[in-house]
Amino acid sequence: MTGGPLVTMDAVSTHFNAPSMFDRRPPVRAVEAVDFVVEPGERVALVGESGSGKTTLVRTMLGLTHASAGTVHVAGVNVHESSRRTRRRLRRSAQMIYQDPHASLSPRHRVRALLTEPHRIHRIPAEQQWSVEELLDMVELTDEQADKFPHELSGGQARRVSIARALSLRPKLLVADEPTAGLDVSAASAILNLIKRLSQQMDMAYVMVTHNLNTVTFAADRIAVMYLGTIVENGPVRDVLERPAHPYTQALVDALPEPDPTQRRDDLPLPGEVPSARRPPSGCRFHPRCPIAVDRCTDEVPLLTPIVSADRHAACHLSEHVLEEQPT
């Protein structure tokens, strides 16, 4: 694989049909016509609230969930149209750590076995393997954790074990699904420090799925904001947060509670709730809750178009308006 993006998702949609023929509801349109690109070594934050489809998007990216439409290329491989064997080799390039670390570790195996399993699965020759002690050291765990069962580990420790497992294959891409969920602030910061440092040392790109906007400027270079299955804005992280070009991004930033009692908001950034993905609103999916929606928003789906600079995009008919209205 030469130069060029590590991940290219082109007009990808993922729909979930009803599980049985007795369920006549329309399918859940979890991801709808998404374009997404990740360059080698890049750090991307994928943010959105519950129901935004971000977990489905990354699972589709890795081929864990089947794409209903569009194509996904990871490290040169067409993920959804490859043979089983090719997809298996793909696992060495792209790995994922799960939101619930305890749930993702097989409960009857000790940490030692869990850490060496990826090597055994892919039959990596011994000279290229990291030892259990080295892997534990990489994620700042002591050797004595090696003989524990997953349920004997704390949340933070279990998470570090899953990171070590994913890293043992030396992937070029790591997908981290809410890596700080359930952790206290200090433990969460430690995990984010770890992931960033490992990404720098191993020249590894990552896509971090998170709903904690406060961590993204540290953790990522680029941000993509999702709402109800579509990407509504993306661009360099600080630019997007300081000057959002989409009303949803603006609302997210405004809704963040500042740890500063002298800065209290009285207004409500965003009323209501995320609608169902089975019957998404017509046109722009955000229009029912959008403070500046006009008629065009109900009829016409806005496309992701460049705004402000070549590396920023927003899917809004009124993004110029959003930019103008910002307080300086």
Binding site: L62, L64, R88, R91, R92, Q95, M96, Y98, D100, A103, S104, L105, S106, P107, R108, H109, R112, T116, E117, P118, I121, H122, A126, E127, Q128, Q129, W130, S131, V132, E133, E134, D137, M138, E140, A146, D147, F149, H151, E152, S162, R165, A166, L169, L198, Q201, M202
Partner: protein, 303 residues
């Protein structure tokens, strides 16, 4: 703290000795009164089965008609049956017969049920539907009726009896396996393993099977007395062994016919069956607790 990019690893050492794990497990089982009782029963059965000829005070076939249908005495500790044979020796002899049929039958049922349940649970769809229908059909027959039907057609050899009892237990094992596989399949860690690149075989062998060992082991322990009972039942009805083989079911049926003359054959046999059933059941329940890695009742646990 640095991370080398060209790792020469020292191979991980220290594999735990499998025997030690089993020993530790047995000790945990014994820690509860129910478990200890169960272990005792199983141990006693094994000992008696192995040492039957040595332990029995009399030859189980030795007839002593003048002393028929007596109660316990110094010569015949548990009394005698309708031909004056020592009940104790016959019951001891019966252990071997019971185990010789029951154990292979249950193990065979386990093996078949396990495979059926694994395939049905993991593959799903039409395979699962077919399997469930077949299992339901088998289960809808009472085991003894099923056995009688088959044996009437094929004859009552020991092999046939083993197979037929095995078939009666297959649905139970298949259901437990299938349910466990379906539930395990949904776990995140199975998805995580697939994400790492693990193939179906590896997932089933290393991540599904270890998690179903526990309920299957428990079910095996609890089915054994059932198998013994079925076998006794068949013998009671005249199928299976030939006299003078001391099958418990035969002892029971002979004793039942003459119960007004002497209650002892029926009494001792039923007590024995009750003990064996209780013992295996307790053992099974205790095994279930011990085998869940999350149940930690060891005295030195501190965290």
């Amino acid at each position: 703290m640095s991370v080398s990019t060209a790792p020469p690893g020292a191979p991980s050492r220290r594999r735990s000795v499998p025997g030690a794990k089993v020993a530790a497990g047995l000790r945990r089982v014994a820690r509860s009164p129910a478990g200890a009782f169960g272990l005792l029963v199983v141990a006693a059965l094994l000992v008696v089965a192995i040492l039957a000829p040595v332990l029995a005070p009399h030859d189980y076939a030795a007839i002593d008609v003048p002393r028929r249908l007596e109660g316990p005495s110094s010569d015949y500790w548990l009394g005698t049956d309708h031909l004056g044979r020592d009940l104790l020796s016959r019951l001891i002899g019966g252990v071997r017969i019971a185990l010789r049929i029951a154990v292979p039958a249950v193990l065979l049922g386990l093996a078949i049920g396990l495979v059926v349940g694994l395939v049905a649970g993991y593959v799903g769809r039409w395979v699962d539907t077919v399997a469930v229908v077949v299992m339901d059909a088998i289960q809808s027959f009472p085991a003894v009726i099923l056995a009688l039907t088959v044996l009437a057609l094929l004859g009552g050899s020991a092999t046939n009896i083993i197979v037929v009892i095995a078939i009666a237990f297959v649905p139970g094992f298949a259901r437990v396996t299938r349910a466990a596989v379906q539930s395990i399949k949904q776990n995140t860690y199975i998805d995580a393993e697939r994400n790492l690149g693990a193939g179906t075989a590896r997932i089933i062998l290393r991540h599904v099977l270890p998690n179903i060992v526990a309920p299957l082991l428990v079910l095996t322990a609890m089915d054994l007395p059932g198998a013994i009972a079925i076998e006794s039942g068949l013998a009671f009805l005249g199928l299976g062994v030939q006299p003078p083989t001391p099958d418990w079911g035969v002892i029971l049926s002979d004793g039942f016919e003459r119960i007004s003359l002497s209650p002892w054959p029926v009494l001792w046999t039923c007590l024995l069956l009750a003990f064996v059933t209780l013992g295996f059941t307790f053992l099974g329940e205790r095994l279930r607790d011990v085998l869940d890695v999350r149940t930690d009742d060891s005295p030195a646990s501190s965290r």
